[in-house]
C-alpha cells in the first residue's frame, strides 16, 4: 500500500470517527511533515491545528493570573455592595442606628428605675430618716387635701341653693331661654 493510499484510508476512518489514538498520531505526524502529497495538502491546516492544541501548556504565571482574576472579581462584587449604599441610605442607616442605641440606653436607664443620680447614703438607717420624712410629708398633705375637699363640700352644702330647681332645668328650658333672649326687645314685651 502506497503511503498516500494508506493516509487516505486513515482519513476515511478519521472522518467516521473510528481511528485509534495511534492512528490519529500518525496522521498528525504525516500532515505536519514535509512530504505531504499535493492532493492531501488541504488537510494540512487541520492537523497542524490539532498539533498546536496538543502542544499547548499552561504558562508559568497561570496560577498567579487566575488568583488575580478571582480577587478582582471578588472586589468587583464588594464594590457593587458599597455602591448600593448610596449616601442617603448611609445617613438613614446611621440615624437609625443612633436612635436605636439611644433608645436602648434610655430603656436601660428606665429599667434601672431612673437611678441616674448618686445615692446619698450607704447606711439604710440614715436613709430611713429621710424616707420617712418624705412619706410623712406626703401622707400629711394627702390627708390635708382630703380634709380640704370634705370642707369644701360642707361649705357648698351650707349655701342655700335650690337643688331641686337646678335639677329640674332641662335642655328644652335652656333652649327656650336662648331663643327668647335673641328676640327683639319689643317682641319680649
Amino acid at each position: 500500500m502506497k503511503p498516500t493510499e494508506e493516509i487516505n484510508a486513515l482519513l476515511v476512518k478519521y472522518w467516521k470517527g473510528e481511528t485509534s489514538l495511534e492512528e490519529e498520531d500518525s496522521l498528525t505526524k504525516y500532515f505536519t511533515g514535509r512530504d505531504v502529497a499535493d492532493e492531501l495538502k488541504p488537510y494540512t491546516a487541520l492537523f497542524q491545528y490539532r498539533e498546536n492544541l496538543r502542544c499547548a501548556t499552561l504558562s508559568d504565571d497561570f496560577d498567579r493570573k487566575l488568583k488575580k482574576a478571582i480577587q478582582q472579581k471578588k472586589r468587583e462584587n464588594d464594590y457593587i455592595t458599597i455602591r448600593i449604599f448610596v449616601p442617603a441610605l448611609r445617613i438613614a442607616a446611621s440615624v437609625a442606628v443612633a436612635l436605636s442605641l439611644s433608645f436602648g440606653v434610655y430603656m436601660m436607664i428606665g429599667k434601672n428605675d431612673k437611678t441616674y443620680f448618686a445615692e446619698t447614703y450607704s447606711d439604710p438607717n440614715a436613709a430611713m430618716e429621710h424616707a420617712t420624712f418624705a412619706l410623712d410629708k406626703l401622707s400629711e398633705a394627702l390627708q390635708k387635701g382630703e380634709e380640704a375637699s370634705i370642707e369644701s363640700i360642707q361649705e357648698l352644702n351650707k349655701v342655700d341653693l335650690d337643688w331641686k330647681m337646678l335639677d329640674s332645668i332641662t335642655e328644652s328650658d335652656i333652649n327656650y331661654q336662648k331663643s327668647t333672649d335673641s328676640l327683639p326687645l319689643e317682641n319680649n314685651l
Binding site: T115, A127, M128, E129, F133, L142
Partner: protein
Amino acid sequence: MKKTAFILFFLLSTVSLSAGDFVTQFLEKCIEEKKPVNNINIGKSMLEKMASNTDDEDLKKTFRNLNSIRIITCDNIRDSRLYFKKANNLALEEFKDYQELVSLNEKNAKIHIYFKQESEKLQDLIFIGLDDEEKLSIITITGKIDFASISKLSDSLNKEMKIDNHGETPSMDKGTK
C-alpha cells in the same frame, strides 16, 4: 469627621432623652449658687435595704413598691419662698403632662402635688410644699405609689422616726448644692 458627628449625635440624643427628672431639672435650672439647698437621693437598692430593716408591714410594702425618693429642702425662709415659686413654675412649664393632685394654699401650709401615671407599676409624683415655718420641701417619688396606704402611714412613720431618731426631725445636712 463623619464618625465625630455620629458620636455627637448619639450622645446628644441620649442626654436629651434621659434628663427628664424634676429634681435634676430643678437643681440645674432654678438653684442659685448663693442660695443653697439640701438634696437627698434614695434609690431602689437602698429602699430594698430599708424594707428589710423595718418590721412594719405597711412600710415594708410601700418601700418595696417604690423606685426612688428624692428630697430637696431649704432652711432659709426667703430662699424657700423663691424656690417654691420657681419649682411650681417649672412643674407647670416643663411637666405639663402631670396632673395637679392636691393644691392647698392655707395660712400654715402651701402644698402642690403633681402626679403622672406612666404605667400600673411606674408613677411619678412631685410634692412642692412650704410648711408652717415657711421652709421648702420638694419631694419626688417614683414607682408604684399607693395613695391609700401612704395617707394611712403617718402612725407607722412616726413610730419608725422615733425609733431611729429618738423623736427628732431629720437634719438635712447631706448633698448640699
